[in-house]
């Protein structure tokens, strides 16, 4: 094998793998805290990427209006849930979060959107919009199902994916979009050419992993999230609201998804349904990590990215087949390693 080609493929694989790692981390986080297997993670990616791409052309993306609509529904659900003991404080708090916040984001988007808006502002707006959508998605779809089985949550998750992907088509059309690069700098090391964009991918991935590590290891809220993941009843008994944990988990996941999208949309053209596949690859990494281990997930993501790069070079037709079949040997190993024994307390 030609070393240059190998290096080139490896570089490509690591760039993609870094994105899968971010998504995989978010999936592990959401699953551990809420038991939701977040299939719509891919939609966070496309919503973030395509909102950013649209903002770059000076248009206001439909996702900003979606956030307002979802907020209204969430507000309604809050009122309905609290109908027996409706207190003013509660209503005001819910209205602030569910109505005022998304309306403010929408207003801000209208005020700032334009062909000359700086990239940084467009990124911030896209992140705000997707974060709001993630937050409300938890409130609307998953909070009412919090007590049900993983399976029911999974099916609901698939339902959310269908709805959001359909909305993606409405907002962004069937044509793919590309966004402007974060930086146009580039340099070469030996045969490899590093663009500013790929450096940003590596940098942000590493930064996010460090931030997550700090958050979970050293802040009270991060520890509370971990506690919810370890023992839900135990967490409730010390007063940690599972709904709060769930909201934070979804917030983090949607922001991570949107950032991943913004990082890749300058590299490849994204379509309204591309996110699903990208999300699923993060997923494979998360499954390899057993849905519990962050470091293993990150490593697995790099493997998935590399396998994808190599197979697209040697067997481009079967790239997806190979990547998705990769999961089977992993599942075999997992089932051999852990013969499931039911809990039998003495």
């Amino acid at each position: 094998m030609n070393t240059t080609i190998m290096l080139f493929l490896l570089q490509d694989g690591i760039t993609n793998g870094a994105i899968y790692a971010l998504l995989g981390l978010a999936l592990v986080l959401v699953f551990a805290v809420t038991r939701v297997i977040l299939i719509p993670q891919g939609e966070f990616v496309t919503f973030g990427a395509l909102s950013y791409a649209m903002l770059a052309t000076g248009q206001v993306p439909g996702t900003a209006r979606l956030a307002v609509a979802m907020g209204v529904v969430a507000f309604g659900l809050d009122l309905y849930a609290a109908r027996r003991s409706l207190r003013l404080k509660l209503v005001v708090r819910s209205a602030l979060l569910n109505i005022v916040l998304p309306v403010a984001i929408l207003a801000l988007t209208y005020a700032l959107a334009g062909p000359k808006t700086p990239i940084a502002i467009n990124i911030a707006l896209s992140l705000l919009i997707v974060a709001a959508i993630g937050l409300f998605l938890y409130r609307i779809a998953f909070q009412p199902l919090a007590h049900t089985s993983v399976l029911v949550l999974l099916i609901a998750s698939v339902g959310c994916h269908l709805a959001l992907q359909g909305l993606g088509l409405v907002f962004f059309g069937a044509e793919g979009l590309r966004g402007p690069a974060l930086s146009n700098a580039a340099f070469t090391v030996g045969p490899l050419r590093f663009t500013g964009q790929s450096i940003a991918v590596y940098g942000l991935t590493i930064a996010f992993i460090i931030v997550l590590w700090l958050f979970f290891g050293f802040t009270l809220m991060g520890k509370a999230l971990r506690a919810t993941a370890v023992n839900r009843l135990g967490a409730r008994l010390v007063g940690i609201r599972t709904t709060l944990s769930g909201q934070i988990a979804f917030l983090l996941a949607s922001v991570i998804g949107a950032i991943s999208g913004i990082l890749i949309v300058p590299i490849t053209t994204l379509y309204y349904d591309t996110g699903f596949l990208i999300g699923l690859k993060g997923f494979i990494a998360a499954i390899i990590g057993g849905l519990v281990s962050y470091p293993l997930t990150a490593v697995a993501a790099l493997v998935v990215g590399s396998v994808e790069a190599f197979s697209s070079f040697y067997a481009s037709n079967f790239k997806e087949v190979i990547v998705f079949t990769l999961i089977l040997p992993v599942l075999v190993l997992r089932s051999l390693a852990a013969p499931a024994v039911e809990e039998e307390k003495d």
């Binding site: 297997i37 609307i140 779809a141 009412p144 199902l145 049900t148 993983v150 399976l151 029911v152 999974l154 099916i155 609901a156 698939v158 339902g159 959310c160 994916h161 269908l162 709805a163 959001l164 992907q165 359909g166 909305l167 088509l169 409405v170 699923l280 997923f283 494979i284 499954i287 849905l291 037709n317 079967f318 997806e320 087949v321 998705f324 079949t325 999961i327 089977l328 599942l331 075999v332 997992r334 089932s335 852990a338 499931a340 024994v341 039911e342 039998e344 307390k345 003495d346």
Partner: protein, 589 residues
């Protein structure tokens, strides 16, 4: 006959529909699509609703069925009727290969695995040259009988609905049988079924293959209905939709699959034709509404429409009463019973650093009631699990009737005549008492899946149910025989477990806290029953906290504390043993 009546009426209605004058041809097309979807969903009912194995990948098995016939009929000119068994075979083989990997996965890994290979197979279909890549294969010949060619939707309609009705009949037959009970017990975990000899992995693989073959049948019909096959209808989206159909209809019910298919196909049609008028020419709007409806449905009616409809019915379907005069042959036993039934020699179980059972030794002889007592966490249930093969001991030896069972799985231990109940009741709550108890006689029946589907198992089945009814009568629950196990009080459920254990025709009965939750009179009745069993030649090993009950009943008592045996002897000895007093009442007693 009365049980078949609804099916016959439904069949007649479906047969008449195409002949109604003036019926729009488009309705027939819809009914064709409903039938095709119902077939796949029926497999999912068995797999997911009954067996508890969720699959998002069923559409891929339709693909196997469709592509098999597409390739063979177009490239090799094989007759469509000849490709039918081949299509089913290919789907079945694919299911065996994927199933061996998939069904071993626990919990949520399983649905995730099915998503992954579902997508992988979709890409495989769309990239393979001989399957026509993305364009697929066209020019598939129609089905024909003699000179009669099923070219239009109105004629293939009969082929589709005969397939649906036959599949429904076979599936219901299967569920109402020895194998069916084993499948229905899967959802509650593998331990209970295995304790009565059910080969859980094999049962799971069986439903997996069954569901895949139904999907393959649907795919085969689809190919000859469309006269073409391309990858789109076999992708992940379609797989999700089939699961949706099963959930909407009611995932645990065969007719729920048909109902769900009807609701979803018609709804989709309405959404596709009217949404564009409401919202302007956007495509894909129906998937949005679809997704939202799915989430709303799960929040409002998680069990589906069919059970809701059935609960509105003014009458209950009658249940059959087993004929208790039928005799089930006794379990094959060793010619003579040795004096020691169970011999435990320095059994030890370690979980990581924790020693749950620490070199415990004791025997249970013939015709003897032995009680195992000790504080919670003393290792009593772990000892039970070691004896019955649920757990493997770290060291030491356990033998039953002189046969070593250290590494034997539960299915082998029960064959030696050791049956048990569980501390945490493990019944299937939505099965009747009779059906639950009949699982106990699993090893004493012989009918397999195929003979059950074709009702060749009736003689065998009647004997099993007769035995179950007899044991229910024996424990005094005759009045509850037709009730759902989940509707009984916890104490009664424990008694149902004893009846189930008795169905094994055991030599040694292991009872884990049988008296918990019973009232005084019920306890006395239980004690009388156990004495009667002992006098009839059975031995009993029981864990129990009610000291009055134990002291009165047991011939011998073994006391465990922190996994270690601290005393063994007659009730009189144990009462005055200082170590035992200390372990129970603290140092001050």
């Amino acid at each position: 006959m009365t049980q078949r009546l609804p099916l016959i009426i439904f069949a007649i209605v479906m047969a008449v529909i195409p002949f109604i004058p003036g019926i729009p041809p488009f309705w027939i097309v819809l009914l064709d699509n409903i039938g095709l979807a119902a077939l796949v969903a029926m497999g999912l009912v068995l797999l997911t609703g009954v067996g508890g194995l969720t699959s998002f990948g069923q559409a891929a098995f339709c693909g196997f069925g469709a592509y098999t016939t597409a390739v063979l009929t177009t490239a090799y000119g094989v007759s469509p009727w000849l490709t039918l068994p081949l299509s089913l075979l290919v789907s079945g083989i694919a299911a065996v290969l994927l199933g061996i990997v998939t069904v071993r996965l626990s919990g949520h890994y399983l649905p995730l695995g099915t998503i992954a290979w579902g997508i992988g197979l979709f890409y495989l279909f769309s990239k393979l040259e001989f399957l026509g890549r993305n364009d697929g294969i066209s020019g598939i010949p129609p089905l024909s009988i003699g000179g009669f060619r099923m070219l239009d939707p109105g004629t293939i309609y009969f082929a589709i609905w005969i397939a649906v009705l036959l599949s429904a009949l076979l599936t219901m037959n299967l569920l109402d049988s020895r194998t069916g009970r084993a499948i229905r017990a899967l959802r509650r975990g593998h331990i209970a079924g295995e304790a009565f000899g059910v080969q859980t992995p094999r049962a799971k693989l069986l439903v997996f293959i069954y569901a895949a073959v139904l999907a393959g049948l649907s795919g085969w019909l689809y190919a000859h209905f469309q006269r073409a096959a391309n990858p789109t209808p076999f992708g992940a989206q379609a797989g999700i939709e089939y699961l949706f159909i099963a959930v909407v209809g009611g995932a645990g019910y065969v007719w729920g699959a048909v109902l769900g298919a009807g609701i979803v196909v018609i709804l989709k049609e309405i959404l596709q034709s009217y949404l564009p008028y409401v919202f302007g020419g956007q495509s894909q709007l129906e998937t949005i509404v679809f997704g939202i409806l799915l989430v709303v449905l799960l929040q409002l009616a998680p069990t589906g429409v069919w059970p809701w409809l059935m609960s509105k019915l003014p009458f209950r379907p009658a249940r059959k009463i087993p004929d208790t005069s039928l005799e089930l042959p006794a379990r094959v036993r060793a010619p003579s019973t040795p004096s020691v039934l169970l011999h435990i020699d320095k059994a030890r179980k370690q979980f990581g650093g924790v020693i749950a059972v620490n070199d415990v030794s004791f025997d249970v002889g013939a015709r003897e009631i032995v009680a195992l007592i000790g504080p919670n966490g003393a290792g009593k249930s772990t000892t039970f699990n070691l004896i019955t093969g649920v757990l493997t001991s770290t060291s030491g030896a356990i033998s039953v009737l002189g046969t070593k069972v250290d590494n034997a799985p539960p299915q082998e231990v029960v064959k030696l005549g050791v049956s048990r109940t569980f501390q945490h009741v493990k019944l299937v709550p939505d099965m009747t008492v009779l059906e639950n108890v009949a699982i106990g006689a699993h090893l004493r029946g012989h009918a397999g899946a195929i003979s059950s589907m074709f009702r060749l198992d009736r003689a065998d089945e009647a004997r099993l149910l007769a035995e179950a009814a007899r044991q229910i009568e024996r424990v005094g629950l005759g009045d509850q025989i037709d009730q759902l196990a989940g509707s009984l009080s916890l104490g009664q459920q424990r008694i149902v477990e004893i009846a189930r254990a008795l169905c094994v025709d055991p030599l040694l009965l292991l009872l884990d806290e049988p008296a918990a939750g019973l009232r005084h009179m019920e306890k006395q009745r239980l004690a009388a029953l156990l004495r009667q069993l002992r006098d009839g030649g059975m031995s009993v090993l029981l864990v129990e906290h009610d000291m009055g009950f134990v002291m009165d009943l047991a011939d011998r008592i073994v006391v465990l504390d922190f996994g270690t045996k601290i005393a063994e002897g007659t009730p009189a000895d144990i009462k005055t043993n200082p170590d035992v007093i200390k372990a129970y009442l603290g140092a001050t007693a």
